[in-house]
Amino acid sequence: MDYRSAGLTAGIEIHQQVNTKEKLFCHCQTLLRDSIEHSGEFFRYLRVTESEMGEIDRAAQEEMKRDRKFHYYTYDTTCLVENDEEPPSPLNDEALSVCLTIAKMFGMAPVQQVHTMRKLVIDGSNTSGFQRTALVALNGTLPNGGEIDTICLEEEAAQRVKDDIFSLDRLGIPLIEITTSPCMHTPEEVQEVAEYIGMVLRSTGKVKRGIGTIRQDVNISILGGARVEIKGVQELDLIAEVVRREVQRQQNLIAIRNELLQKKASVHDNAKNVTGLFKETKSTVLKKAKQIYAISLEGFAGQVGREIQPGRRLGSEMSDYAKKCGIGGIFHTDELPGYGVTADEVARLRIHMNAGVEDCVVIVAAVNDNQTACALNQVIIRAQLALSDNPVPEETRKMLETGSSAYMRPLPGAARMYPETDVLPVIVDNDRWNAIAVPELLTAKAQRYAREYSIDRNYAIQLALSEKLPLFERAVAEGIKPKLAVFTILSTCTELRREGVETGKISDEDYLASWHAVESGRAAKEAIPDIFRGLASGSSFEDVIRKLSPAVSLQELESIIQKVVSDRSDFVAQKGKTALGPLMGVVMTEVRGSVDGKIVSDILKKEIDSLLAAKKP
């Protein structure tokens, strides 16, 4: 696939949670909770409001098609600001500092006076109905020559628990939004830029880590297509695939339009009530429906069921549009008989709808007239789009698990912005900007580690990108040998995790205590896996150490080794000095790793030598 000649243009938006002490507009901790722990619950309706320019945003209008009643979970770690029951606190200065630091790392120009805006979002993920966001800096550069358009400081939205239930623990965590220009032209390039930006963000040491703490939105268009924004790509590895599939989808939509034009396809509102035709149906969906309507799309046969990207058809797009009215989806004759609908029923449906073989009949099942009218209208709109000069509608889409995507809403416009009148603007003067220290990039840090600590280069890169980097830096500062710390973090822990040991449960303090024990001779470095097994199973560090090192004295050690050697005197005689290796293992098991291997090997070597000397004729 030649993406350049396809005219692929892509940009990305990266959303990264910031690890501040408090949220962006209130003094709650930035702490994620288990939704089972919620201490209260309330519900609200959201209504669309006009922008300051007196317009209504098209994305918001689309959301208004359904009932906007939302439930929210509260916690003992959330407050009235998250509940939209109290005006916001001033913009969190710690978060602004992190944002400015990142802006400086990309060589951006800071906004002289930062104004907080309200971005209308009425999908329920914000109790207020808007997301507070402020443009902080403009015009950055990327190593590949691309540009970063803007960096914004936003509040994180509430997490959806299920359906229309949201959890307020996440709402208000500071979020940095980095938007690149449409400067990328291959799927791989998009992924590389995303990786680079992620690395820069982590270089600050001030961003949250783990699943869901960084999300990418990708903006994609091709020649003859349109700008489409795909939201919520959480795995970096999927970005290139998302881009590939979107290119495929746009190309197929263009191809479908050309076919439809050839077939002289057309869309008319010829909807009819067909409830009676399905009185005896075996289809569970249709049986439950209060009313069933059908519409015949002339010349659409074969195209509605045509795959546009893996697992998605033009019919899926129509279905997504119709779902905005609250229905579960649609059926169409390109996929029927099926889903419990018989060939006989399809034949009758076609006759009733006066539909020929070249036509596709779409069935909508709804609970009332309003819903039916809304859903049919949506199907017509989407079908007309498929036929139009712009067969790829400008949309916001959500990523599906495999990298395909589903329709969410039209692309929002500038009409969704309204000034946040409750937050005062913040001045970023030259003194503040100049005082910001730019942290070392993780890639530079990796090179430095490789050099300064003679750590393998790949190891050093892994370490620099690891969540345990701050722990490593602390350990080195406390006098732990860098190699010991690196080996434990990257190798020992990886092996333990493969065994099923939950190393994530081990605190940084316990890591450090274990290393200090090794450095001071209280434990052998070979004992670290056992210590960690104990810690991961919930024992305290002192308990683990006590159990593992029954404090073998030098004297006891010598007698253990003497016994090991004399019990195996034939083996030693036979193997000579090479017996050292196998016997090391035996002794280390006996002392359960509580003695440094170097000491064991010294004594063992001595004992083997003396046994061999004695055996010599």
Partner: protein, 403 residues
């Protein structure tokens, strides 16, 4: 439209306002930024979008309600073209903002004032009373008064005393601004309209009952208080249960047995108020000097501690006030419960000095009532008796309500 240069980049945007030495510019993305005004260069006007004016049809078979606006935020928003809150106010504006209202009634609108409620004055209460009286006299089924929430309870008490009403007079506002999708304005307004078309027959405040969008409470105008600075359910009935409730979205109105019913009173207007009245909250160590400024006032409400006390050091000043003809009424800063100055010595001394016990009246309601009583009754003894008599549900004879 301006071009702004700073930090080596040039951006185009719409110049909005210059504030605190910074030019606020709206970029294409909708974001506002503040830049140094000298870096901006004017180059043209944005395309004017003609003001939308859609006439929303009203259903004449529904009851007629009057909406009197005093500057509440029920349907307002920032207007950047004029730089202020929208001043146009007619039924179409309100119905555009809250289309659901059209299902309840058809409306007449009377723009009375556009003020923040902290700037409310007794003179505006009088204007308001006259306007409301006129509407009722002309046969309207109910009146809705949109009002800022800060002093809504004071105004509701004032209108309670000034108008004997056979129809509902409902005060409504919003705690969370109307320009946010989560605003309580729409539900409060719809519930207020429902209450105004119901069998209710007194002055009430209708606001959210809980933090949920499920119920609005109907509070008596003389027993309601704003008890939280920002929550939707800030308004509470003190010393009694609410008069009723309006369920949302069903709009079903439920009224208590003790709530006055439509038509139970004959329309009358008594607008006179004596403005030379004051309200003082006592605190430990308060100087008697602070009472001196009330010399020459016609009345003073004291918000005392507990059962209705102030320190004995204030007694001489209070005696002096009363001797020179100032009516002094004692209320309690506890808000809940009633005054009883017969239990402790200080209280007895206050009574001997001529202080009038204000029963379980809320301090600010006692003040509004005092203005009305002194405006309408010149005889001190009869005025004192009126202060202790229940006129509009402001005094409970029995304390039936706990905390």
């Amino acid at each position: 439209m301006v071009e702004c240069t700073y930090g080596g980049t040039t951006k185009e945007g719409i110049f909005i306002i210059e504030r605190d030495g910074m030019a606020v510019v709206k970029l294409d993305s909708g974001y506002n930024i503040g830049v140094n005004p000298v870096s901006c260069k004017f180059f043209g006007h944005p395309a004017e979008s003609p003001p939308k004016k859609i006439k929303i049809p009203q259903k004449n078979d529904l009851p007629a309600l009057s909406i009197v606006s005093t500057g509440g935020t029920i349907a307002s928003r920032i207007d950047y073209r004029t730089g202020s809150v929208t001043s146009q106010f007619d039924a179409s504006d309100i119905l555009m903002a809250i289309p659901e209202l059209a299902k309840v009634a058809h409306y007449r609108t009377i723009p009375l004032a556009t003020i923040l409620s902290e700037n409310m004055t007794p003179a505006i209460w009088q204007e308001l009373a006259r306007a409301v009286y006129k509407e009722i006299k002309n046969g309207i089924a109910g009146v809705i008064i949109t009002h800022g929430t800060d002093t809504m309870a004071h105004s509701a008490a004032a209108i309670s005393f000034m108008i004997d009403t056979p129809v509902p007079i409902v005060f409504v506002g919003s705690q969370r601004s109307a320009d946010r999708p989560s605003s309580d304005n729409a539900i409060n307004a719809v519930c207020a309209a429902s209450a105004a078309t119901s069998d209710l027959g007194e002055v009430a405040v209708v606001m959210h009952a809980t933090t949920n969008d499920d119920t609005c409470a109907i509070h008596r105008g003389t027993r309601v208080r704003k008890m939280h600075s920002s929550r939707r359910d800030a308004f509470r009935s003190i010393g009694i249960d609410p008069l009723g409730s309006v369920a949302y979205p069903s709009r079903e109105v439920t009224l208590k047995s003790y709530t006055a019913r439509r038509g139970s009173r004959t329309l009358a207007l008594h607008v006179k108020l004596e403005e030379h009245c004051g309200l003082v909250q006592f605190y430990p160590g308060m100087s008697p000097d602070l009472l001196k400024i009330y010399e020459g006032y016609k009345g003073l409400v004291l918000s005392g501690t507990g059962l209705g006390h102030v320190s004995t050091t204030l007694l001489p000043s209070i005696k002096k006030l009363i001797r020179s003809g100032t009516m002094v009424v004692m209320t309690t800063q506890c808000m809940q419960g009633r005054v009883c100055d017969r239990v402790y010595d200080t209280g007895r001394d206050l009574l001997t000095a001529g202080v009038i016990e204000g029963g379980d009246m809320l301090p600010e309601v006692a003040l509004v009532k005092m203005m009305w009583v002194l405006g309408n009754e010149r005889d001190p003894e009869r005025a004192a008796a009126l202060m202790q008599k229940d006129l509009k549900g402001e005094c409970n004879r029995r304390s039936t309500h706990g905390l």
